[in-house]
Subunit: 122 residues, 2 copies
DNA sequence: CGAACTGTTGGATGTTCGTCATACCGTCAG
DNA sequence: CTGACGGTATGACGAACATCCAACAGTTCG
Protein backbone atom coordinates (compact mmCIF):
# COMPACT_ATOMS: atom_id res chain seq x y z
CA UNK A 1 0.00 0.00 0.00
CA UNK A 2 3.05 2.23 0.20
CA UNK A 3 2.75 3.95 3.50
CA UNK A 4 3.13 7.64 3.78
CA UNK A 5 6.84 7.85 4.44
CA UNK A 6 8.14 5.10 2.22
CA UNK A 7 11.34 6.11 0.50
CA UNK A 8 9.77 5.21 -2.82
CA UNK A 9 6.39 3.57 -3.41
CA UNK A 10 6.17 0.33 -5.31
CA UNK A 11 5.49 1.21 -8.93
CA UNK A 12 2.92 -1.57 -9.22
CA UNK A 13 0.77 0.25 -6.71
CA UNK A 14 0.89 3.53 -8.62
CA UNK A 15 -2.16 4.36 -10.69
CA UNK A 16 -2.06 6.47 -13.80
CA UNK A 17 -4.40 9.01 -12.33
CA UNK A 18 -2.05 9.52 -9.39
CA UNK A 19 0.85 10.27 -11.70
CA UNK A 20 -1.32 12.65 -13.66
CA UNK A 21 -2.44 14.47 -10.54
CA UNK A 22 1.18 14.84 -9.47
CA UNK A 23 2.16 16.26 -12.84
CA UNK A 24 -0.87 18.52 -13.25
CA UNK A 25 0.88 21.47 -11.67
CA UNK A 26 3.10 23.97 -13.51
CA UNK A 27 6.00 23.72 -11.11
CA UNK A 28 5.95 19.93 -10.78
CA UNK A 29 5.60 19.49 -14.53
CA UNK A 30 8.70 21.59 -15.11
CA UNK A 31 10.58 19.63 -12.48
CA UNK A 32 9.73 16.39 -14.25
CA UNK A 33 10.63 17.85 -17.62
CA UNK A 34 13.99 18.95 -16.27
CA UNK A 35 14.60 15.65 -14.57
CA UNK A 36 13.90 13.84 -17.82
CA UNK A 37 17.49 14.35 -18.93
CA UNK A 38 18.29 11.33 -16.81
CA UNK A 39 20.79 13.06 -14.58
CA UNK A 40 20.49 13.82 -10.94
CA UNK A 41 19.65 17.32 -9.82
CA UNK A 42 19.99 19.05 -6.50
CA UNK A 43 16.99 20.37 -4.70
CA UNK A 44 18.37 23.82 -4.11
CA UNK A 45 18.24 27.25 -5.62
CA UNK A 46 20.37 27.10 -8.72
CA UNK A 47 18.17 24.92 -10.92
CA UNK A 48 14.80 25.63 -9.46
CA UNK A 49 14.35 29.30 -9.14
CA UNK A 50 10.64 29.35 -9.37
CA UNK A 51 9.44 32.21 -7.28
CA UNK A 52 8.28 30.10 -4.40
CA UNK A 53 9.40 29.48 -0.87
CA UNK A 54 11.86 26.77 0.11
CA UNK A 55 9.26 24.74 1.96
CA UNK A 56 6.96 24.92 -1.01
CA UNK A 57 9.61 23.16 -3.05
CA UNK A 58 9.88 20.51 -0.36
CA UNK A 59 6.13 20.07 -0.67
CA UNK A 60 6.30 19.59 -4.45
CA UNK A 61 9.21 17.18 -4.17
CA UNK A 62 7.25 15.11 -1.70
CA UNK A 63 4.22 14.99 -3.97
CA UNK A 64 6.39 13.75 -6.82
CA UNK A 65 8.12 11.16 -4.68
CA UNK A 66 4.88 9.86 -3.17
CA UNK A 67 3.36 9.57 -6.63
CA UNK A 68 6.26 7.31 -7.59
CA UNK A 69 7.84 9.74 -10.02
CA UNK A 70 11.13 10.51 -8.32
CA UNK A 71 13.75 9.02 -6.09
CA UNK A 72 15.80 11.02 -3.61
CA UNK A 73 19.32 10.23 -2.48
CA UNK A 74 20.90 12.00 0.41
CA UNK A 75 24.52 13.08 0.05
CA UNK A 76 25.80 14.96 3.03
CA UNK A 77 23.75 18.06 3.48
CA UNK A 78 22.45 18.15 -0.05
CA UNK A 79 19.75 15.93 -1.48
CA UNK A 80 19.74 14.79 -5.07
CA UNK A 81 16.56 14.01 -6.94
CA UNK A 82 16.19 11.72 -9.91
CA UNK A 83 13.39 10.58 -12.19
CA UNK A 84 12.46 6.87 -11.99
CA UNK A 85 12.48 6.79 -15.76
CA UNK A 86 12.90 3.08 -16.40
CA UNK A 87 10.18 2.00 -14.02
CA UNK A 88 7.85 4.69 -15.25
CA UNK A 89 8.42 3.73 -18.88
CA UNK A 90 7.75 0.11 -18.02
CA UNK A 91 4.45 0.82 -16.34
CA UNK A 92 3.24 3.83 -18.35
CA UNK A 93 4.76 3.48 -21.81
CA UNK A 94 5.12 6.75 -23.64
CA UNK A 95 3.85 8.89 -20.83
CA UNK A 96 7.09 10.58 -19.83
CA UNK A 97 8.03 11.02 -23.45
CA UNK A 98 4.76 12.82 -24.01
CA UNK A 99 5.31 15.04 -21.00
CA UNK A 100 8.73 16.28 -22.01
CA UNK A 101 7.61 17.22 -25.51
CA UNK A 102 5.99 20.45 -24.45
CA UNK A 103 4.96 22.40 -27.51
CA UNK A 104 6.09 25.98 -27.63
CA UNK A 105 2.84 27.27 -29.09
CA UNK A 106 1.55 30.71 -28.30
CA UNK A 107 0.33 30.01 -24.87
CA UNK A 108 -0.20 32.24 -21.91
CA UNK A 109 1.55 31.50 -18.65
CA UNK A 110 5.11 32.08 -19.70
CA UNK A 111 8.19 30.47 -18.31
CA UNK A 112 9.72 30.40 -14.89
CA UNK A 113 11.38 33.69 -14.18
CA UNK A 114 8.06 35.39 -14.63
CA UNK A 115 5.76 36.01 -11.77
CA UNK A 116 2.26 34.60 -12.15
CA UNK A 117 3.13 31.52 -10.19
CA UNK A 118 2.10 32.84 -6.84
CA UNK A 119 -1.36 31.62 -6.20
CA UNK A 120 -1.27 33.16 -2.75
CA UNK A 121 0.78 36.33 -3.08
CA UNK A 122 -0.17 37.83 0.28
CA UNK B 1 -7.46 33.38 -25.36
CA UNK B 2 -10.51 31.15 -25.67
CA UNK B 3 -13.17 32.86 -23.66
CA UNK B 4 -15.12 30.98 -21.10
CA UNK B 5 -18.02 29.87 -23.23
CA UNK B 6 -16.32 29.15 -26.51
CA UNK B 7 -17.65 26.02 -28.14
CA UNK B 8 -14.12 24.67 -28.34
CA UNK B 9 -10.93 26.50 -27.44
CA UNK B 10 -8.21 26.93 -30.02
CA UNK B 11 -5.79 24.06 -29.55
CA UNK B 12 -2.83 26.38 -29.95
CA UNK B 13 -3.85 28.13 -26.78
CA UNK B 14 -4.03 24.93 -24.78
CA UNK B 15 -1.08 24.22 -22.53
CA UNK B 16 0.03 20.76 -21.58
CA UNK B 17 -0.51 21.43 -17.93
CA UNK B 18 -4.13 22.34 -18.59
CA UNK B 19 -4.76 19.05 -20.34
CA UNK B 20 -3.08 17.21 -17.49
CA UNK B 21 -5.16 18.99 -14.89
CA UNK B 22 -8.30 18.07 -16.81
CA UNK B 23 -7.31 14.44 -16.99
CA UNK B 24 -6.04 14.16 -13.41
CA UNK B 25 -9.40 13.01 -12.10
CA UNK B 26 -10.63 9.41 -12.03
CA UNK B 27 -13.94 10.12 -13.72
CA UNK B 28 -12.57 12.41 -16.39
CA UNK B 29 -9.72 10.05 -17.14
CA UNK B 30 -12.17 7.22 -17.74
CA UNK B 31 -14.27 9.45 -19.95
CA UNK B 32 -11.25 10.24 -22.08
CA UNK B 33 -10.22 6.59 -22.19
CA UNK B 34 -13.70 5.62 -23.32
CA UNK B 35 -13.84 8.41 -25.88
CA UNK B 36 -10.53 7.26 -27.30
CA UNK B 37 -12.31 4.71 -29.48
CA UNK B 38 -12.96 7.60 -31.85
CA UNK B 39 -16.72 7.27 -31.82
CA UNK B 40 -19.21 9.70 -30.46
CA UNK B 41 -20.85 9.00 -27.14
CA UNK B 42 -23.96 10.40 -25.52
CA UNK B 43 -23.74 12.23 -22.27
CA UNK B 44 -26.44 10.24 -20.58
CA UNK B 45 -26.82 7.37 -18.20
CA UNK B 46 -26.07 4.25 -20.22
CA UNK B 47 -22.35 4.69 -20.74
CA UNK B 48 -21.45 6.77 -17.78
CA UNK B 49 -22.89 5.25 -14.72
CA UNK B 50 -20.38 6.54 -12.30
CA UNK B 51 -22.15 7.01 -9.05
CA UNK B 52 -22.41 10.75 -9.34
CA UNK B 53 -25.16 13.24 -9.89
CA UNK B 54 -26.28 14.43 -13.30
CA UNK B 55 -24.99 17.94 -12.75
CA UNK B 56 -21.63 16.58 -11.68
CA UNK B 57 -21.28 14.92 -15.06
CA UNK B 58 -22.12 18.21 -16.74
CA UNK B 59 -19.34 19.77 -14.67
CA UNK B 60 -16.80 17.15 -15.78
CA UNK B 61 -17.82 17.44 -19.41
CA UNK B 62 -17.35 21.18 -19.23
CA UNK B 63 -13.87 20.82 -17.73
CA UNK B 64 -12.89 18.50 -20.55
CA UNK B 65 -14.31 20.75 -23.22
CA UNK B 66 -12.73 23.89 -21.80
CA UNK B 67 -9.37 22.12 -21.62
CA UNK B 68 -9.66 21.43 -25.34
CA UNK B 69 -10.07 17.70 -25.01
CA UNK B 70 -13.58 17.19 -26.32
CA UNK B 71 -16.09 18.58 -28.74
CA UNK B 72 -19.82 18.52 -28.18
CA UNK B 73 -22.44 18.38 -30.89
CA UNK B 74 -26.08 18.98 -30.13
CA UNK B 75 -28.63 16.73 -31.76
CA UNK B 76 -32.14 17.52 -30.72
CA UNK B 77 -32.39 17.05 -27.00
CA UNK B 78 -29.37 14.78 -26.71
CA UNK B 79 -25.77 15.92 -26.81
CA UNK B 80 -22.96 13.84 -28.26
CA UNK B 81 -19.38 14.14 -27.05
CA UNK B 82 -16.26 13.32 -28.99
CA UNK B 83 -12.53 13.39 -28.40
CA UNK B 84 -10.53 15.89 -30.47
CA UNK B 85 -8.05 13.16 -31.22
CA UNK B 86 -6.35 14.50 -34.33
CA UNK B 87 -5.75 17.95 -32.93
CA UNK B 88 -4.56 16.54 -29.62
CA UNK B 89 -2.17 14.16 -31.34
CA UNK B 90 -0.81 17.01 -33.42
CA UNK B 91 -0.12 19.22 -30.45
CA UNK B 92 0.72 16.62 -27.78
CA UNK B 93 2.18 13.64 -29.62
CA UNK B 94 1.79 10.39 -27.77
CA UNK B 95 -0.13 11.84 -24.86
CA UNK B 96 -3.53 10.33 -25.59
CA UNK B 97 -1.93 7.04 -26.50
CA UNK B 98 -0.23 7.00 -23.13
CA UNK B 99 -3.46 7.79 -21.35
CA UNK B 100 -5.50 5.00 -22.88
CA UNK B 101 -2.87 2.37 -22.04
CA UNK B 102 -3.88 2.09 -18.43
CA UNK B 103 -2.00 -0.80 -16.87
CA UNK B 104 -4.09 -3.32 -15.02
CA UNK B 105 -1.63 -3.79 -12.20
CA UNK B 106 -2.76 -4.63 -8.71
CA UNK B 107 -4.19 -1.29 -7.87
CA UNK B 108 -6.91 -0.10 -5.52
CA UNK B 109 -9.86 1.74 -6.89
CA UNK B 110 -11.61 -0.80 -9.06
CA UNK B 111 -13.89 -0.06 -11.95
CA UNK B 112 -16.97 2.01 -12.22
CA UNK B 113 -19.81 0.20 -10.54
CA UNK B 114 -17.94 0.28 -7.28
CA UNK B 115 -18.38 3.02 -4.81
CA UNK B 116 -15.22 4.78 -3.72
CA UNK B 117 -15.76 7.54 -6.18
CA UNK B 118 -17.69 9.78 -3.90
CA UNK B 119 -15.33 12.24 -2.40
CA UNK B 120 -18.19 13.94 -0.67
CA UNK B 121 -20.60 11.19 0.41
CA UNK B 122 -22.71 13.33 2.72
C1' DC C 1 32.26 24.42 19.42
C1' DG C 2 29.57 27.53 16.68
C1' DA C 3 28.03 29.43 12.46
C1' DA C 4 26.49 28.92 7.83
C1' DC C 5 24.13 25.94 4.74
C1' DT C 6 20.45 22.61 3.16
C1' DG C 7 16.39 20.86 3.75
C1' DT C 8 12.17 19.28 6.60
C1' DT C 9 8.18 19.92 9.76
C1' DG C 10 4.12 21.94 11.49
C1' DG C 11 0.77 25.41 11.54
C1' DA C 12 -2.04 28.90 9.14
C1' DT C 13 -4.47 30.87 5.26
C1' DG C 14 -6.87 31.57 1.10
C1' DT C 15 -8.11 29.21 -3.21
C1' DT C 16 -9.62 25.61 -6.05
C1' DC C 17 -12.11 21.42 -6.68
C1' DG C 18 -15.70 17.68 -6.64
C1' DT C 19 -20.10 16.91 -5.20
C1' DC C 20 -25.03 17.49 -4.47
C1' DA C 21 -29.71 19.67 -4.72
C1' DT C 22 -32.81 22.59 -6.77
C1' DA C 23 -34.37 25.23 -10.30
C1' DC C 24 -34.40 26.10 -15.07
C1' DC C 25 -34.62 25.56 -20.31
C1' DG C 26 -35.06 23.35 -24.97
C1' DT C 27 -36.92 19.28 -27.44
C1' DC C 28 -39.95 15.66 -28.56
C1' DA C 29 -44.25 12.72 -27.99
C1' DG C 30 -48.99 12.43 -26.74
C1' DC D 1 -50.64 22.46 -25.07
C1' DT D 2 -48.67 19.66 -21.64
C1' DG D 3 -45.76 16.57 -19.77
C1' DA D 4 -41.57 13.69 -19.86
C1' DC D 5 -36.79 13.73 -21.04
C1' DG D 6 -31.87 15.42 -21.53
C1' DG D 7 -28.99 18.58 -20.10
C1' DT D 8 -27.45 23.17 -18.01
C1' DA D 9 -27.05 26.95 -14.28
C1' DT D 10 -26.53 28.35 -9.77
C1' DG D 11 -25.45 28.08 -5.04
C1' DA D 12 -23.73 25.72 -1.12
C1' DC D 13 -20.43 22.82 1.41
C1' DG D 14 -16.42 20.27 2.77
C1' DA D 15 -12.03 18.35 1.33
C1' DA D 16 -7.83 18.97 -0.90
C1' DC D 17 -4.32 22.04 -2.40
C1' DA D 18 -0.51 25.61 -2.98
C1' DT D 19 1.62 28.85 -0.54
C1' DC D 20 4.02 31.22 3.20
C1' DC D 21 6.31 31.65 7.72
C1' DA D 22 8.79 30.23 11.71
C1' DA D 23 11.10 26.74 13.97
C1' DC D 24 13.82 22.84 13.82
C1' DA D 25 17.45 19.24 12.47
C1' DG D 26 21.61 17.23 10.13
C1' DT D 27 26.24 18.60 7.79
C1' DT D 28 30.22 20.94 6.79
C1' DC D 29 33.69 24.20 7.75
C1' DG D 30 36.30 27.87 10.20
Amino acid sequence: MASDDDPVPDMRGVALVDVLRAVADPIRLRIVQTLADGRQHGKCGTHWNFGVHKSTMTHHFRILRQAGLTRTTVAGRTHAIELRRDELDARFPGLIAALIAEPGGRSHRSAVGDEAYGRHPR
